[in-house]
Amino acid sequence: MAKANTHQAKTQFGYRRHPDQDRPGQSAAEHPVVVVGAGPVGLSLAIDLAQRGQHVVLLDDADRIGEGSRAICFSKRSLEYWDRLGVGDRMVDKGVVWSVGRIFHGEQQLYQFNLLPEDGHKRPAFINLQQYYAEAYLVDRIGDLPEINLRWRNKVTALERRNDSVALTIETPEGAYRLHAQYVVACDGARSSLRQMVGADFAGQVFEDQFLIADVKMTAEFPTERWFWFDPPFHAGRSALLHRQPDDVWRIDLQLNRYADPIVEKKPENVRPRIARMLGHDKFEFEWISLYKFQCRRMDRFVHGRVIFAGDSAHQVSPFGARGANSGLEDAENLSWKLDRVLRGASPASLLESYHVERSLAADENIRESTRSTDFMAPNSHQEARLRKAVLSLAKETEFGKRMVNGGRLSVPCSYDSPLSSPDADAWRGGPLPGCSMLDAPVTTPKGEQAYLTDAFRKGGTDFTLLSFSNGAAIEAPVGVKDIRIGGKDGLADPAALTAKRYDAEPGSAYLLRPDGYVAARFRRPTREAIATALSRSQGLN
């Protein structure tokens, strides 16, 4: 159904002929990297690559941003990534910030949780933002980057893998043309046609229960929290979700049974009474209605030679947990620096294998978590239902019962058991392990301005960075490695001592961060040699 015109951002784009299309058959244009699919993942990846100096051709088969809110929950990690891509403020300014969720059983609240209970982070646990806004802001950002050539209504219809390149055939309103690329990144979604073109399968589990999503526009007094019900009075025996989006739009997700007729259930006249029962009134308009079944599946390999898969094309999860778009964005940030290094000849092509290793581990984790949530919401057998009933009932009077209730476990960055990480050689009591994402913390610049560690990382150029805690003796970062110093002359001050605390740092400690903000190695007493060894390892050089 048509979405209401509630947003100003441009969502429709024209096809424009490109000179590549005028080249004679045997001399197709050569490009270093072609990204297929201008969704949140493809757009973000293209921006990241361009900011690293790569020229990117970005193809999309449509001429518009997809309708419907679709993905709405963007994680702290995604916002930190978008900060680096220059769009974080815009997303957060428009988005609805939240960190609290409540779980109800019947009419009774079982418990509430706070996903970011501590201060001193630049970004909140989550924002809710319609996917079309996120995409529109990313497209706007691409307008600032001449390195990106975004071609609408360019549909890849054939792909030929060669030793030294990939040949693409692209269909446009003015006919077909061919392109050669050193690397192709397929961000073309769960129904990826490139996945079929490389002949890869997409195996996993289909869940039979159906879920109805209705985004409704209304003025309501509900707080900006994620509310999840098991067996609510307005939707007996099933689960329900209520969550706020910008522009007075509310996401409502209702579990239906596996035998519901999608065509009947999707009709607004049938959805309306269900929503009215939930809200206690019918003063709302529909923005978007969708009925779906879950699938949890992934490709066996994310890297097929020079064709690399990212986002939903590589892995698909159920939506409870906000693990779809957020994990796709994590794919983009993981891949872009590696692909950039390989294209520049700074690292061997084998570095791309670590993208497969790290992100397929993450996909397994996301699939496991979202499968568990789905199974808890829609038990597969009488005994599973019985165990769930016991958990829900125990949750009313025990803490352990509350913790077992699974109404969706929300996306957090995965930690990688990775060949790029150097294991700890020293004793640490806390702080992010090698293979974990950096943590944010408040700092003060030498000029006395309040800032965050993630700002310092971004301003340093989002490259390999040595985060060191001063002990008076300066550590020299290897050539090409950026430097963030905490304490000492010219360093960032740590007035609340939260940076030292979150990194379990003592004077002299240092963390080597990768360009995606993951910890490659950490040292109590760093030496030049140890840092250099860890650096080459994380660059895939040894």
Binding site: L387, V391, L394
Partner: protein, 75 residues
């Protein structure tokens, strides 16, 4: 710490009776509900996933023994 299978109760008959008597008056369905809650409570008390997995394996061996006995009887 591995799963303890030595006898831990000073009076094992009391423990067995306590569980048996807790089920008195229940239908099979109610008994199954009750057991589900009891298993979760006890599992949390143990609080060790390795011990829990070992206990699950030990319990599962009853099912395999039971199936084999059934098959032998059918033969």
């Amino acid at each position: 710490m591995p799963l303890s299978t030595s006898s831990n109760f000073a009076r094992p008959d009391d423990a067995f009776r306590a569980i048996v008597e807790a089920h008195r008056g229940f239908t099979d369905e109610q008994s199954a509900d009750f057991d589900a809650a009891l298993v979760l409570i006890l599992a949390n008390h143990i609080g060790d996933i390795d011990v829990l997995r070992e206990a699950i394996l030990l319990a599962r061996r009853r099912m395999i023994d039971g199936q084999q006995q059934q098959q032998q009887q059918q033969q």
